[in-house]
Every structure is written in C-alpha cells, then in structure tokens.
C-alpha cells in the first residue's frame, strides 16, 4: 500500500507540565476563538475551490498549502487540548509542533469523486465520529493521568494520535486536499523521536572464494 498523502509525525516526549495540564481548557480558549474565525473565513474559499477542482482537475499549489495550514492548525489545537502534546501551539498552522501533519503536494483528482465528495465522505465521517469519542475519553482520562504522573501514558498518547490522524485524513479528503480515502491502517514508522544509537561496528566482509 502506498503512503497516504496526509501523515503524522509524532515527536512528543510524553512529559507534561502539571500546571498547564490543570488549566488546559482555559489556555486553549484563544485558539478556539481564532480557529472559529478562521473556519468561517474558509467556507467561501472551500466552496470556490470545489468548483475550481471540478473544472481544473486539481488544486493550485498555494491554495493547497493554505488549506493545509488550516487543517494542520486544527491538529495542533486538538493535540494540545486533548493532552497529546504539551507546548502551547503557535496559531499559524506551520510545521514544527510535537504532533504534526505532513502533507504531500496536490495531485490530480477524479472530477466525479470531487462532485460527490460530500456523499463519499459519509462512511469515513461515521468512523471519525466514533474515533472522536475515543479521543475525547482519552483526553478526559489523560487529564487525571497527566496530573498524577506528570507525563502522558504512551498507550493513551498513541491511541489518541491515531484517532486524530484519522480525523485529519477525513477532513483533508473532505476539503479536497487529497483524493485518497482516510485509512484505518496504522503505521509504526516515524512516530517516535529518533533515539541515538551507539555506532555499530560492521565486521569486514570475508574475501570471496576464487
């Protein structure tokens, strides 16, 4: 299976500041206000892009990047709110947050699937709603765990990131960032911060027999 165009990079170290965990709901309020304003501003753009992609078959690179930042900003807010990451996100949707989204460049899309995108997304949307419930329960339980331990249990963080990744792929599909349907398959690669390994001595290759 080829790589999904919407991928997650998790470099979070699981450590949590008890103080910011305790006040997380309050601290996230400015982000929620800003994201609401941004969301309203996106409606006409998305409607126009829908018509554009039906006509042209793909999205302009600049617009693709801009909508990508909008989706990435939502990833950062949710990761922060639901304790999947610790730092306060910068409200510009740029890369560099411990739970981040990588987005492949725009590809050509089948016009028929673009026209019916709102209908096609329904099964994925149903999954997303259920996975969101899991995500919020993890956020709720994780709040107590983080307050008690000063860190987020890795199982909770991984499952939460998985749910958030599915949600992001669903939104990316809906907002025409990609023609690829959201994937339930997980990936173990590149989800952890790189661990420095001691250099391994490679024994010299034996002389070939002649």
């Amino acid at each position: 299976m080829s790589t999904h165009p919407v991928r997650f990079v998790v470099t979070d170290d699981l450590r949590r500041s008890r103080l910011t965990v305790f006040f997380r709901l309050l601290l996230v309020l400015p982000h929620l206000i800003w994201s609401t304003i941004w969301t309203y501003a996106m409606f006409p753009l998305i409607a126009f892009q829908w018509l554009w992609v039906i006509g042209a078959g793909n999205m302009e690179e600049d617009v693709h990047r801009f909508i990508g930042r909008f989706v990435r900003y939502h990833v950062h807010i949710h990761a922060y709110l639901l304790l999947l990451a610790n730092p306060w996100p910068i409200p510009n949707g740029r890369e560099g947050y411990p739970i981040d989204m990588e987005l492949a460049p725009p590809e050509r899309q089948n016009r028929l699937t673009v026209i019916f995108r709102l209908i096609l997304v329904i099964p994925a949307y149903v999954f997303m709603v259920v996975l969101n419930t899991v995500l919020y329960v993890i956020g709720f339980l994780g709040w107590f765990a983080s307050l008690a331990l000063g860190r987020m249990p890795q199982g909770m963080r991984d499952l939460g990131a998985y749910c958030l990744r599915y949600q992001t792929q669903t939104f990316a599909y809906l907002l025409l960032l990609t023609p690829r349907y959201p994937s339930l398959a997980g990936s173990a690669a590149a989800s952890q911060p790189p661990v420095e390994q001691p250099p391994v001595e490679v024994p010299p290759e034996p002389e070939p027999y002649t």
Binding site: M1, S2, T3, H4, R7, F8, V9, V10, I99, E102, P123, V126, F127, V130, L131, T133, V134, V137, I138, L141, F144, P153, Q154, G155, M156, D158, L159, A161, Y162, L164, R165, S183, L184, A185, G186, S187, A188, A189, A190, S191
Partner: protein, 201 residues
C-alpha cells in the same frame, strides 16, 4: 513513512494477550446471516454471564482471603473470558469460524493467551470494581467503535469475501482491551488493562 499493519497485541507482556491467526477470508453466506447464527452463543453467553455475576462475589472473597484466585477458579474464569472473546470476535466479523461453546484455548483464530494465577495486592482486590471504572469507560467506548467497525465490515466482507486489514487490526485492539478489562474485573490478573500496542499515527 510507510503504512504498516498495526502493532500486534500479542507482542505485549500483559498476562492476558490476544493471538490473532485470522486469515481475513470470510464466507459471504455466514457473514450475511452472522447475527442469526450467533443467537445460540448469545443465549449461552448470557447464561454464563449470569452465573459469573452470582459466583464472582464468592471468588472475590476467596481472592481477598488468599491474595490470588485458586487454580481451578482461575481456569474457569479464563474459559469464560476466552469464550466471550471468541463470541465477540465472531459477531464483530473479526474471525470466520463458528466458535465452540467451552472457551477452550487454541480453538479459535482470535484467541486469548492467559497466564496462570499470580499473587495480587489485597487492597487492589478489595477496591477492584472501583479501580476498574476508568477501564470500563474506555472499554465501553471501544465496544461502540467495534460495533461501528462490524457494521461497515459487514458490507465490506459481503462485497469482497474478506475483511479489511485496517478494520480487523483496530477491532482486535479494541477486543483485546475489552478482554483485559474483563480479566482485571474478574480478578484473573492484577495488571491494569493496557493501551500498549496501540495503533500509532
């Protein structure tokens, strides 16, 4: 970053592990009638569950006194937990064959490996039901997820004759968490249900 199968639950070190030997192939006829075919199991599972509720108080007192479940009781509760896993795997389309009724080990593609009884903290046993509440909450949500997966998987299996690997991996993860929660609540183990082996983003 390449997509890969979810981390297998059997790889973790929890005393209750899920072993997944399913080949993803599905018989369309039994998939179509799955809920009807499962009725005898629903009846038997309900009876067994009722019996468990009646005797689990006695088991709780014995465990509280001894600090662990006696071997015979542990084997009985293991069979019940394993049987419920087989039935849920069958009804959620995570496996294809019709399960046996006795919860015997090694008889089903989606099976449980359960370690022998361990000494447990008596305080942990005393407050077990209270301690299990967060796990039950999560298990409940994961059960909801499994039902949705089964619903979508039903159409998928009917059309393709096989189960989607993504659906099965996530379903197996949820099923394992549920089995570990049962095992913890029914005193099979003192280890809290593990979210380890979670699908990663």
């Amino acid at each position: 970053m390449a997509d890969a199968p979810l981390t297998q639950a059997s790889a973790d070190t929890h005393p209750i592990r899920l072993v997944n030997n399913d080949d993803l192939k599905r018989n369309r006829l039994t998939v179509f009638f799955r809920l009807i075919l499962a009725i005898p199991h629903f009846i038997w599972l309900t009876l067994w569950l009722f019996a468990m509720y009646l005797v689990s108080w006695v088991f709780w007192l014995i465990a509280l006194f001894k600090g662990r479940l006696p071997d015979g009781i542990h084997a009985f509760v293991s069979r019940f937990t394993r049987y419920s896993t087989h039935v849920y795997a069958y009804t959620s389309l995570l496996a294809d064959p019709f399960p046996g009724f006795m919860g015997a080990a090694g008889t089903y593609p989606m099976d449980l490996e359960i370690d022998g009884p361990q000494q447990q903290n008596r305080l942990g046993i005393f407050f077990r039901l209270l301690l299990a509440i967060p796990a039950f909450l999560l298990a409940y949500v994961l059960r909801l997820l499994m039902n949705v997966l089964a619903f979508v998987g039903w159409f998928y299996a009917l059309f393709t004759g096989r189960m989607s690997e993504g659906i099965e991996s996530l379903g197996a993860y949820a099923l394992r968490y549920e089995a570990q929660t049962f095992g913890y609540a029914f005193l099979l183990t003192g280890n809290y249900p593990s979210l380890g082996g979670a699908p990663t983003a």
